[in-house]
Amino acid sequence: MIPRHIGRMSAGIAALILVVAIVDTPWETAVARGFFVVSIGFGLIAGSGLIGARTQFATAFVILTLAVAQRLPGQAVSNPPSPNWTRTISDTSELAEHRFSLTETAWKAALSKSATTSLLVCAEAVLDQPDAMTVTIATNNGTVTRVVGAEDAHGAHPRPDRGGFYRMPIQRDLFDRAGEATVTVSTSKTLTPPLRLCGTHSIRPGVDPNASRFFSGTEWITPPGPTSHTRWLIELRLADQRGRTILAWY
């Protein structure tokens, strides 16, 4: 007797779920929700009946609760900020800078095991010229400056119309006992058209949110980007003797 009674209640709740799902919503949402309430929601309720009437009732009740919750004001679907943006560097007085902290254990451990080190800078659109971008890296062991161009393209993506990495080998000695490294990127004097430098989020915990900055010709500002934690896409890579990357660092 009880299961039959519960079974009727489950059916009633199922009908209520459908009403809750489709009332007062945009018609496209109502149609889509309606289909899935019938196909999945009713299917789950019917399927749980295989276990028992009480389980079926509980399933129906849970789905009704969820359908109501779906309608309540709450958090909206988030809109992820774009992980890829660029800043045009059109004048030789403009400068992009990124500071690497080299005091963390993960860096030190990887450096001790590494055979090669390199610096990767992401740029877009202009590096079909051999001397498009000037990159300088400085630590307390010294400074290295190099003009980077098309022949330094690294990986699958660098193309004149698409962002990609350009790789600059660095002597490992430059990082010995260094607590910090500073990389600056500027345009080549002969450059036309302007250089577009890539940027992304700064996500890793412990990284200084102000590690990247931009000199506009008159003042230092934070790089443009959709969040407060942005960085230039400038990274150090450590590789072992087989050439396998053991650390990507920013």
Binding site: E28, T29, F35, F36, S39, A69, C122, H157
Partner: protein, 514 residues
């Protein structure tokens, strides 16, 4: 599968057929290797062994499936389940909830939650395996293929699911994407968004189905094997398995789909296998469940293969046809409704599956050389090992050998249903995540393997010690726990040592390395 005469138990599979299939596969694989054109990779013994293993395993499953089809046709009469045909007729009855059951369910949820929470954010293996340190996509940034979702770092493919999610929350009109066929996943996620936010809504949905997978395997273990320990060990193996850990907090439908496959196997058992009156309505109900699950991601493919292999074809073909048509109807109706709403249902996995089929046509047109070369270029061995690493295969092999015939047959059908689409897809992509659908069969066989090793250990200890029952029991439990901890250490290696090896294997499949 269980519809055979008690006096003369007849099943779809027999050991001799399986062993014959493997022997035939080995012979043909060796022959195929001789057909290969001279190439550099043939100078390496490891690569040669890789091709031979890939071809042998693939052909073995193919021949076993074919032999099952022929056996299936021979079985002409269905009879009630009995002790001869039903592994465990008294157990696995639904609705019988005891305090111990509740405790086990809660413990399962606790273990899943622990793994899920430990692998959140940047420690999610799906995301981590795209970082440059994984040495596959070295052109990606240090954070890998990532996005920021509610301030959490998450796997970036989730970006493409958000427009559909907004449609279900009523915040946006439908917008076509490559993932229109997977809308059911976002229907589930949309329930939790107002409460939990987007990141945790995705992750929370995954956790629910992870737990359902554990419960399903526990139930299936109790159902197909007489020892209670098999289901419990299997449940722990699922909770700590590579596939669920990999997908646990990723904003993707895979974990939900994995969980649903376990639930579908339970539903099949309750609706069709345990009852002889496999009526029209039961076939429709199973087809409905399969079709609805297919609205999440791909589950309908292994589920329908299972439907066609798990019961005698000659006696149950109507059930199979009705179930299949119902499942395909559900999927088709959503395509019609979705198209009306402005969705496109183009691109994505549908297009990739078409490309995989086209590649097979090219391979067969190329003759034996191309078929043999598939064993190298499409990495069938790597795909299977990416889903389940060597220890699981060894334990499953022991389990297969020691399991009762009915249970062994059931597990083999599950393996074929999951591995067949994964192997067929290798001509386009190698996806261990598709092969992982085999987890109910694979991990329950591995449970039997663990159980057998523990029993052996118990016997050895009793021969040295007093031999009393408590001592033997303690030895058994200690061995089981030791093996489970060792296996969990492998699947949690990313947390313990920082190594991404198994995450990379699961993401991209192994190459020719061993």
């Amino acid at each position: 599968m269980r519809g055979a005469s008690p006096s003369k138990p007849d099943t779809v599979f027999r050991v001799r057929k399986e062993l014959t299939s493997v022997a035939l596969a080995i012979g043909i694989s060796v022959f195929l290797i001789y057909a290969l054109p001279i190439a550099d990779y043939l100078a390496d013994w490891g690569a040669l062994a890789d091709i031979a293993t890939g071809l042998t395993v693939s052909l073995s499953f193919l021949f076993i499936a074919i032999s099952s089809g022929f056996s299936s046709l021979k079985i002409s009469q269905a009879s009630p389940p009995s002790t001869a045909t039903d592994a465990n007729p008294e157990k696995g009855s639904p609705g019988n909830v005891t305090p111990l059951t509740v405790l086990i369910l809660l413990a399962a949820l606790g273990l899943c939650s622990l793994e899920w929470y430990l692998h959140r954010d940047d420690r999610n293996p799906f995301l981590a395996s795209s970082r440059p340190e994984a040495n596959v996509d070295t052109w990606l940034t240090a954070d890998g293929y990532a996005m920021l979702l509610d301030g959490h770092i998450a796997q970036n493919d989730g970006t493409f699911l958000l427009p559909m999610l907004r449609m279900f929350t009523g915040d946006a009109r439908p917008a076509p994407s490559e993932f229109d066929a997977r809308a059911g996943h976002l229907y589930f996620v949309s329930f939790l968004v107002p409460w939990l936010g987007t990141y945790w809504a995705f992750a929370g949905t995954n956790l629910v189905f992870w737990w359902l997978a554990v419960v399903s395997v526990w139930w299936l273990g109790n159902r197909n094997w007489s020892e209670k320990s098999i289901g419990l060990i299997g449940a722990v193996l699922v909770a700590t398995s590579q596939g669920f850990i990999f997908m646990g907090t990723a904003p993707q439908p895979h974990a939900v789909a994995f969980g649903l496959f376990g639930v579908l196997l339970v539903a099949h058992d309750l609706l069709l296998n345990r009852r002889l009156d496999a009526s029209f309505s039961k076939a429709v109900r199973f087809g409905w469940a399969t079709g609805s699950s297919g609205l999440i991601y791909f589950v309908h493919v292994p589920s329908l293969i299972y439907l066609w292999l798990a019961m005698p074809l000659r006696t149950h073909w109507r059930v199979m046809v009705i179930g299949t048509l119902t499942a395909l109807s559900i999927l088709t109706v959503w395509q019609i409704i979705g198209s009306y709403l402005g969705l496109s249902f183009s691109g994505g996995n549908s297009a990739l599956a078409t490309e995989a089929v086209a590649n097979w046509v090219t391979i067969f047109r190329g003759g034996l050389q191309n078929i043999a070369a598939w064993g190298h270029y499409s990495r069938p061995r790597g795909t299977m090992l990416g889903a389940f690493w060597y220890p699981w295969w060894i334990l499953a092999a022991i389990g297969w050998w020691k399991s009762p015939r009915i249970a062994r047959n059931w597990a083999m059908v599950v393996l074929i249903a999951a591995f067949a689409p994964a192997l067929l897809f290798t001509t386009r992509f190698q996806l261990p995540r598709v092969a992982f659908f085999a987890y109910p069969g694979m991990l329950l066989l591995a449970s039997v393997g663990i159980d057998e090793i523990a029993k052996l250990s118990s016997r050895i200890v009793s021969s040295f010690a007093s031999g009393t029952a408590p001592v033997r029991r303690e030895a058994y439990i200690a061995t089981v726990i030791s093996i489970l901890v060792a296996l969990a250490t492998v699947t949690n290696r990313d947390l313990i040592t920082g190594s991404l090896r198994f995450a990379v294997n699961f993401h991209y499949a192994l190459g020719t390395e061993w």
